[in-house]
């Protein structure tokens, strides 16, 4: 994460004279407080995941074990959920990348009198809270036969970040000079080939954001899964986690450890994408305003 921090501050360390000790102390005291607040829950999570008798307070288990991780696979069918989630997230990502490339490019190049109205309308859609659409999406998906189906999950997850990503891609394509593609049309390329071979490579950061964001949103999103899936075989990771969390343990036992282990596996791909492409992701998430 440190590189991202540097990228954002960007100004280098030497603009002001050296700090006095008192200032150093005050700033670092603030840092300790802030870090404690933001990291404490994660400390607990890691302790609990490796503790078979995890409780709610932060401590490192006296006998760390992988049993919680084993149990989520043997007792909670987590393997099925992982498989479903990987499939749905990757398929969503592919669909989104193709869709927003085409749409962003077309929107950038199309000649209409009220083009800005379309852009405006798309951004308006982006602000629609997902939680407000839970009830109607349920009804709609039921009528379209999209509940308990991969297709339904993929289409709906693809749509969630679509308005923002179309708008984002349009911006990238706007900055690609038209002369480039027009020249390649003269060389005999079709418009689609020109888009793929000439224009898209220039919009690579946008594609990266689209791919990363759509993958993460499909991976992490739970509201839609709650209302779309009720069959065991169609369960994805967020739903498996949601259900395990709401049903901690049996009916006479609370089991934090198992859920903590699930949380870690749920969190890992998110961390991986962030560590791999932090600047793009921060930029993408920031402008989508929705978060995960």
């Amino acid at each position: 994460m440190t590189a991202a921090a540097r990228a954002i501050s960007g100004t280098g360390p030497s603009r002001r004279p050296r700090a006095r000790p008192l200032e150093w102390l005050l700033v670092h005291l603030a840092f300790v407080a802030v870090s404690a607040f933001f990291l404490a829950p994660f400390l607990w999570l890691f302790g609990a995941a490796f503790d078979e008798n995890a409780t709610a307070y932060i401590h490192w288990p006296s006998a760390p074990t992988f049993n919680n991780f084993i149990r989520i696979f043997t007792e909670h069918d987590f393997g099925v959920a992982l498989g479903n989630s990987v499939f749905v997230s990757v398929a969503t990502m592919l669909l989104v990348v193709v869709t927003v490339s085409l749409a962003g490019y077309s929107l950038s190049r199309i000649e209409l009198r009220r083009k800005d109205w379309i852009t405006y309308g798309i951004l308006l859609l982006q602000t629609m809270p997902l939680s407000a659409t839970m009830v109607p999406i349920y009804g709609l998906a039921r009528q379209l036969g999209l509940r308990n189906s991969y297709l339904g999950l993929i289409l709906i997850h693809a749509t969630i970040e679509l308005p923002f990503l179309v708008w984002l891609m349009k911006g990238f394509f706007d900055s690609v000079p038209r002369q480039l593609e027009e020249a390649s049309w003269l060389d005999g390329r079709t418009k689609l080939r020109a888009l793929i071979e000439i224009v898209l490579p220039l919009a690579r950061p946008g594609l990266g954001i689209a791919a990363g964001l759509s993958f993460l949103s499909a991976w992490a999103e739970v509201l839609m899964v709650i209302i779309l899936v009720d069959q065991q075989s169609m369960k994805t990771v967020p739903l498996a986690f949601y259900e395990a969390m709401r049903n901690q343990g049996g009916y006479t036992e609370v089991q934090y450890g198992v859920i903590a282990a699930m949380a870690i596996l749920y969190l890992m791909p998110v961390m991986a994408v962030f560590i791999g492409a932090r600047r793009l992701m921060v930029r993408g998430l920031m402008s989508s305003t929705r978060g995960l």
Binding site: A56, T133, V270
Partner: protein, 310 residues
């Protein structure tokens, strides 16, 4: 109607037919996205509107024979004392969580980290990463983590308080709204921090130099120079986090599920509870419509403002 130049490329066309023809490939390129948006964004809004005029239910007689009930659901909504509470809760939550919590903490953190980075304090990067970590983790996990933090008997917060001889505090019993606000601030602060860190970068250094030559104190420099430069972006950030906080669902559901007794029930949760727990999909849809209308008002305001700035 409009007679424009006959040039090959121009913003004006001489008719719908020609526009369509010239742009047909672009229209084709827009089609998949347009279809998805129409079905899954516009469709639900229309479906909710339609259902809000029915007594559609998940179980019981009304599930077998849903009827058109006219404005019954809307009459009920405006006479529903619980809905009034839900609106008030939503406002308190948004003000506490977005406007006071995330905004002020985010701005403070941005200033702190920016300042520390300029001083060359390496720990700044660590703090930056810590704040970001809370932001990128899925909402569900955030909820789960704070359920444990707030736990009355063994929760880390109460254990920490007991070290100082305080507590234990029954967070969800005595201060449920504060508890859900804390959790949401924890999760959402990074957004504001990132925006302001970006904005601070654009404050030119010579402004400070000039001010320092004038002998202005750090506080004055901040008040007279930094803050005015941040103001336009601040307004937009506020609106943006207000909208995303307005739709918050999972964090509250996992922490208190709206309780105790509606004290943290916000509008998104209420729609869900009425539709899927009371099984009244018609009434739940009515609440969803109300939510969409409120959000639309916010969003139009937001977009007009941001476009005016741009």
């Amino acid at each position: 109607m409009t007679v424009a130049g006959a040039g090959a490329i121009g913003p004006r066309s001489t008719g719908l037919g020609r526009t369509l023809k010239r742009n047909r490939l672009y229209f084709a390129g827009l089609t998949p996205a347009a279809l998805l948006l129409a079905v899954f964004f516009v469709g639900p809004a229309l479906w909710a509107l339609g259902s809000s005029f029915t007594n559609r239910a998940l179980v019981g007689i009304d599930a077998a024979n849903p009827r058109f009930v006219g404005l019954d659901n809307y009459t009920r909504l405006f006479g529903d004392p619980d809905f009034g509470r839900v609106i008030v809760n939503s406002i308190v939550f948004v003000v506490g969580s977005a406007i006071i919590g995330q905004f002020i903490l985010g701005l403070g953190l941005a200033l702190l980290i920016d300042h520390a980075q300029q001083r060359g304090f390496r720990a700044a990067n660590f703090v930056y990463a810590a704040v970001l970590l809370a932001w990128v983790d899925p909402t569900l996990i955030a909820g789960f983590l704070w359920v444990a933090m707030f736990d009355f008997y063994y929760g880390s917060l109460n254990v920490a308080l007991s070290v100082f001889g305080l507590g234990p505090v029954n967070w969800f019993g005595q201060a449920p709204m504060l508890a859900v606000i804390i959790a949401n601030v924890w999760r959402g602060t990074a957004f504001t921090m990132l925006i302001f860190l970006g904005a601070l970068r654009t404050v030119p250094g010579d402004v400070y130099e000039a001010a320092r030559v004038d002998g202005a104190s750090a506080w004055r420099r901040f008040w007279d120079h930094t803050l005015p430069m941040l103001r336009p972006i601040a307004a937009l950030t506020l609106l943006s986090i207000t909208m995303s906080t307005f739709g918050t669902f999972i964090v509250i559901q996992t922490l208190t599920n709206g309780g105790p007794s509606f004290q943290t029930e916000v509008i998104a949760l209420y729609a869900y509870h009425e539709a899927f727990q009371a099984h009244e999909v018609g009434y739940g849809s009515t609440i969803a419509v109300a939510m969409l209308v409120l959000n639309l008002a916010f969003a139009v305001f937001y977009l007009r403002w941001s476009r005016a700035r741009a």
